[in-house]
């Protein structure tokens, strides 16, 4: 598991009330598994921006980029490279 996965999971456990019993695969949909909704998504974006000192453009808020741990990881890596 990479650092971005770990940070995202930690955020979802503390802020998003993600249950320890739920095991998430990196390609599982965070919305379809009931982990996030649009409000938690915005909080997650804010968290990732601060954590990795990146700016996430609003037009990147799509399921492809933010609905799975894999998508989040890919998006953050891409933005970090700038």
């Amino acid at each position: 598991m990479n650092e971005i996965h770990e940070d995202t999971l930690h955020f979802l456990k503390t802020e998003g009330f993600l249950n320890d019993k739920i095991s998430l695969k990196e390609t599982d949909s965070l919305t379809e598994t009931g982990v996030i909704d649009s409000i938690i998504l915005l909080q997650l974006v804010d968290f990732l921006e601060n954590k990795y000192t990146i700016e996430i453009p609003v037009d990147m808020l799509t399921p492809e980029n933010f609905d799975t741990l894999a998508g989040i990881s890919r998006t953050v890596k891409k933005l970090k490279k700038g």
């Binding site: 503390t14 919305t31 982990v35 996030i36 649009s38 915005l42 909080q43 808020l61 399921p63």
Partner: protein
Amino acid sequence: MSMAKPSKTCKKCVLDSKTPGISINTDTGLCQFCDHFTPVTKEKKAEYRARMDALLTSPPQQGQYDVIFALSGGIDSSYTLYRLKKDYPSLKILAVQFDNGFISETALENAKKFCDLTKSTYLRLTLDQTVLQDTFSKAARSRDAYPGSAKYRASDICNTCISIIKQKIIELAVSTKSPYVIFAFSPGQTDAPFITLTKPFLVWMRKLFDGNLKAMGVTERDTYLIDAAYIQPGSPDPQVTIIHPFLVWDYDKPTFKKECIRLGWIDPDLKDHNSSNCLLNAFAIKNHLDKYQIHSYAYDMAALVRQGAMKREDALKKLTINESDPSIQEVQRKLNR
């Protein structure tokens, strides 16, 4: 003989360990949120203020209104409408009051009064009341239609009502080409002062709420969702930003109430500590507590206490349930028909 573990309440806010998902650190005596809490800095607040001033002082003249405003007729939204026009007098505001079938007569009166006072256009948004009542009834009977985090922010009934309002108000903003949507959410209810809406994000929001409604067993869902024509491929991109002024201004409800009363706002004197406009609310809180053992205002109140916007004892008082509130039985009867 096994003994139940005694519950602990966070030393700072009002969250307690008997609520599922809340843990109290044995060393600090704080809940996980207070343990990691970082207040918004003065600099950040000033930055938010400058951005809101820039947006609302000279809005882009792109449509009939500058702002589509969600007005419930309660204290927070009535005060916000007044303050917006006081701080930004030239704003053209369409104030939308969603009639969910359970708003008090006083709330209707207060909403109209504040629209007159601020020279805002008033719109009472109504949907088929029988269908709406059936939807609330389904929300009350549902379990886990909303994700875990949403259950802490609001009851299943309130999440449904608020989501309908969001969808329809955003639709109004897009259809009238109004650049701003303003909600008077408290700093305990939202973290983001500004949200710029893009088409992919709206498509996603619509899909998520559609899924919530489907999970509740609601079959006729389109009426509650943003009209798909506005977000289909090829339609113009929405030029809409959501603003939450209470993340920019200081939040001080007792002062807002005094100011509103001075301006002619009438206290509906509901028995519910948490709503000054909706008769459905007390039932919704009880229903949520019975289903999930979560008080749907605890997270909101805890955040306000944590941020210094509310006294702890006032928050604890708001979290007591008045079982004798006649509106609880009345709503139950209506929804069970």
